[in-house]
């Protein structure tokens, strides 16, 4: 393990420690309610970037994966009263299968056609869930949280910590992919898929792996949302706002490095929480749209790109 790696794992250990400490020390519930949403978006944005950033396939189906995560949890909870860990694991499995299907789609379409197909997939799944009475149909379903496990004294605090674990898992996977042969292969197929295939990069296998990993993480991130809200309905679980928020976070942060979506999610997620509380959810969406437009126009490489540019200029000045 190199120096970078040691710093990374110390950082994640500190992050988890801080999250756990927060749940033990802070009594006020609001920080956990808000923090949970930001952590959830961190997982989604990091997972999105594995396919959208490294491989360059823009997936607008984030909400499909998220929603399926929610409904996997709902189904398991309603049918078997499954514990949270089982809900998340099952959601990850469902997400992996969906990701595999999505990967097969990339065989036939690229660019905007792939993106439109992912939107279409979302709506088709949403409509199917809407027509499924058992999980509540269009009206949605109420859920009663089970008792909380030790050492947590509140269910939302536990969900907060679970989501923090998922963040660490997602970031570790994303970082590993970036630094391994997979990341380089995905980078190659992003630049020129045909050329990559010709030089021996296993493009199909890489795309399928990226889709499966990305899908599993997104679905897993959605699973705890059922217990968080104690309620699920198709039009909010599959809301297009998730897809666009996650896209915006990844692009604002920058997709070339695993830290980009993390930075983007913290920045935009916090802004959204503040705006929703202080002004209104409409203004929140307005700001989302504006930040998306401003960043793709003015800073196409995101914040990570800006930082790199500044660094390069400084180094250039010294030399």
């Amino acid at each position: 393990m190199n120096r970078n790696g040691i710093f990374f794992w110390i950082g994640t250990a500190l992050f988890l420690g801080a999250a756990l400490l927060m749940t033990q020390v802070i009594g006020n519930q609001y920080p956990f309610f808000a923090g949970y949403v930001i952590l959830q978006f961190m997982v989604l944005a990091v997972a999105w970037s594995i396919l959208g950033g490294y491989a360059g396939y823009v997936n607008f189906g984030t909400s499909a994966f998220f929603g399926m995560g929610v409904y996997t949890a709902v189904f398991l909870f309603k049918s078997f009263g499954a514990p949270l860990a089982a809900q998340i694991a099952a959601a990850a499995a469902v997400g992996a299968v969906m990701g595999f299907a999505l990967g097969l789609l990339t065989l036939r379409m690229q660019g905007i056609f792939f993106s439109i197909a992912t939107i279409a997939l979302t709506i088709v799944i949403e409509t199917s869930i809407t027509n499924w009475r058992y999980v509540g149909g269009a009206a949605g379903i109420q859920l009663q949280r089970p008792l909380v496990t030790e050492p947590f004294n509140n269910y939302v605090q536990m969900l907060f910590f679970v989501q923090a674990l998922l963040v660490v898992l997602a970031v570790a996977i994303s970082r590993y992919i970036q630094n391994s042969w997979m990341g380089r292969g995905l980078q190659a197929l992003k630049d020129d898929e045909l050329a990559a295939e010709c030089t021996g990069v296993p493009t199909l296998r890489l795309k399928l792996m990226a889709c499966v990993i990305s899908g599993a993480l997104m679905c897993a991130a959605g699973a705890p949302a059922a217990m968080y809200l104690q309620y699920a309905d198709p039009s909010s679980a599959f809301n297009l706002n998730y897809s666009v928020s996650v896209l915006a976070m990844s692009l604002i942060g920058g997709t070339a490095h695993w830290a980009g979506p993390v930075v983007g999610a913290i920045l935009l997620g916090t802004t959204q929480q503040l705006l929703t509380v202080t002004i209104s959810s409409e203004v929140n969406v307005l700001v989302l749209g504006m930040m998306l437009v401003v960043f793709v126009v003015a800073a196409p490489e995101g914040i990570i790109g800006l930082i790199r540019k500044v660094r390069r200029n400084r180094n250039g000045g010294e030399a």
Binding site: F60, V124, V296
Partner: protein, 317 residues
């Protein structure tokens, strides 16, 4: 969040207009009704997709904000109708020049920021238009609220009875205007100098440049035309059923389904594809009820992309 508001535009297919209520036993009469209504509705779908057929089909602009522009036009028509009592179709015609200019500006911005720089135009282009769509959605909500809005005109609310069949006038009006619009645009693209230039730029932009024409100006003009058509299309949208600010999300499926099925850039193809979608929607809704409404266009879109991406009348093999 959308399910309740979408009702207006879902009902127009199956529940509200031709047959009350949900699933029915299937009979020949019902099939005939569904086909007639479906054809009328299909022409309307073609009309709202024409602009996208030019901007996405011919110019390759990933214009996911097209339905948002459409809803914006519908609200402009609503405004003129509500406060000045102008007939919706006339209002649609009045806002057309404004939308033309709006389209010119939008393409200029898109070109300067994405096409000119070259790299990665697709990904960021889609993100850009999604951002624009969200901004339009919220601005409409802030101005007009989230409630459904509709227009008043003498031909709205009346129906035409043939035997047991009941054909609403608003659909007939939409059908006539849509057909006229399609014919006009087809003639424009095939007979006029500028129209042919637009099709030429879609085929080979470099060749045009070598012949001394400026492809960017032609594309800008074409995008202007594509946006101008939305003025009338927006009027049809609000004539056919009440609109709400998030309606554009449903119409992403319908418009892209029609344009992709048509084969990018074919105007006659757009009309045929619109009719296929319209008939498919009414038949499925007659059989299964309105709750399956959104899945039909998106499902067809998915199927077409997977099986025959070049569409029915594709310009690319």
């Amino acid at each position: 969040m959308d399910a309740r508001h979408e009702a207006g535009h879902d009902e127009l297919n199956g529940g509200g207009i031709c047959f009350q209520g949900g699933p029915h036993l299937f009979s020949f009469d019902l099939l005939l009704d569904a086909v007639v209504i479906g054809v009328l509705l299909g022409c309307f779908y073609a009309a709202v997709s024409l602009g996208l057929s030019v901007s996405f089909g011919l110019l390759d602009v990933p214009h996911v904000a097209h339905p948002a522009f459409l809803v914006l036009a519908a609200y402009a028509v609503f405004f003129l109708n509500e406060y000045y009592g102008i007939d919706p179709l006339l209002a649609g015609l009045l806002i057309t020049p404004l939308f033309f200019l709006f389209g010119l500006a939008a393409y200029r911005l898109y070109y300067e920021t994405f096409e000119k720089r070259g790299t990665d135009a697709g990904v960021r282009g889609i993100a850009f238009f999604f951002g624009v769509a969200f901004i339009i959605e919220v601005l409409i909500i802030l101005q007009f609220g989230v409630d459904q809005r509709s227009v008043t005109a003498s031909y709205i609310g009346k129906a035409w009875r043939i035997g047991d069949m009941r054909i609403p006038f608003r659909l007939v009006v939409a059908f006539v205007v849509a057909a006229a619009l399609t014919i006009l645009l087809t003639l424009y693209l095939s007979r006029t100098f500028m129209g042919r230039a637009i099709r030429a730029v879609a085929q080979d932009q470099e060749a045009l440049r070598l012949m001394g024409a400026n492809p960017i100006r032609i594309k800008q003009w074409a995008f202007g035309i594509a946006t101008a058509v939305l003025g009338i299309a927006g009027a049809l949208l609000i004539i056919v059923a009440p609109v709400d600010p998030t309606l554009d999300r449903t119409y992403i499926g319908r418009t892209f389904c029609v344009v992709v099925m048509a084969g990018l850039g074919s105007m006659t193809g757009t009309l045929v594809a619109g009719i296929i979608l319209g008939v498919a929607e009414t038949i499925v809704l007659t059989l299964f009820g309105a709750s399956w409404a959104p899945a039909i266009s998106f499902g067809m879109l998915l199927g077409i992309l997977a099986v025959r991406p070049q569409g029915l009348f594709g310009r690319r093999s």
